[in-house]
Chain length 228, copies 2
Amino acid sequence: MTAVTRRERVEQKERAILEAAAEAFVESGYDGARMADIAKRAGVAEGTVYLYFKTKTDLMRAFVADFWGDLTQRAEQAVADKGETFEALDALAAMHLQNLIERFDVVELTQSGRVRRGDTPGNREFMKAYVAVFDRIWRRGMDRSELIETAVHWQARDIFFGSLEYAARTIRLHRDRTQASVVDNLIETLKKRYAVTTKEKPSTQKSERLLQRLEAAVTRLENTSNRA
Amino acid sequence: MTAVTRRERVEQKERAILEAAAEAFVESGYDGARMADIAKRAGVAEGTVYLYFKTKTDLMRAFVADFWGDLTQRAEQAVADKGETFEALDALAAMHLQNLIERFDVVELTQSGRVRRGDTPGNREFMKAYVAVFDRIWRRGMDRSELIETAVHWQARDIFFGSLEYAARTIRLHRDRTQASVVDNLIETLKKRYAVTTKEKPSTQKSERLLQRLEAAVTRLENTSNRA
DNA sequence: CATTATTTACAAGTCAAGCTCATTTTGCGA
DNA sequence: TCGCAAAATGAGCTTGACTTGTAAATAATG
């Protein structure tokens, strides 16, 4: 418990403050949270907090970064054992939606990332590593030709994350609407648009060959019957 | 300019304050905007602002409501003369994306709608009338059987608005990515998933039957001509 | 171990910004 | 012109993020 080295003690206190902040932010939102309260929860004077985090904004940034870091780990686990592209996407979507719904407060914090005009909020800066999980699946899918060649990576990604975020809001408002159906629908939609259909193409090719043969035959027959 | 009746004067002043607030919010964001500055811009004492709007939050709410009101009008116009479901959706999507990109600052304000824990921010409260435009198109599409019967209205809506919002962010970050392609892709995706394919399904069935018949005929003819 | 130096902690105090309220000004009917 | 209610004012009040001068704890030095 009680650490020995200086470094350990410092890190321990930093964690304590961060945890206190997390509680406060989740309970009261960014504006609602009071620095004084966070200090008290961490068992530290108000001034001390500022030795570890320059501003309140900084504190929230750290908190949000932590959050997305955790999510990324979980996402990677959820996806690890999934071989086929849409299986992996399904797992990722289910995970993502679940987290969005459970911890929507934090997600909203992420996006409302206090901007005082001028400094880049990095709304999505936090999400970069997280989004990379999707990117990896997608790229692998392209390599394996499980996705059509004309698929535009970033457009698919926006559909994926965008619709899930909106769905999360909807579900929070109407508890009767199920997560599973959202994920199923999304995956179905992506499949219809982006999946390579190994069955369809060949069959049309076959019928085209057939058509050519028929046309040739008919032409020939027409000629012979005309001549006759 | 100078109004006559008391009522008119009051309304005029309210508008002046609202306009001043709009400028300030767009320039500096919610936090950056100063009530003192808004008052000065509107040519009014700071206390006066509070006679018209109870709080700063209220002021922003009014501003954002106005904004979405305008958008709704424009959306309705854009969609008015579009007959077929996906044509209308295409027009709406193009309009929406355009506005998201142009006025993203306001959209972000909408979502960061200051929450002091407890009161519903009504993120989407503003958007209700706006979203109704989509709903109308969709419902009509169902009535006309241009959409498959199993389509889930709200899920489609979330895909529509969610992906457009994310796409808007992406496009703002990478100016080279085009709006048109996003809209095309979205509509294509929705079609593949939700459109009733009155031509395709029956036609392929029909053409297959036709093919079979032709093949049989040709085979027969070939045989007879061979025999001859 | 004593002393000095440095890092860490503290909490009283500053400052800025949203909001209030006692007072003044304005406009209208009698 | 007078009276009075509605409208406007701006000097404070309050709150909460941040600063800063001071004190405690820890490390370095002789």
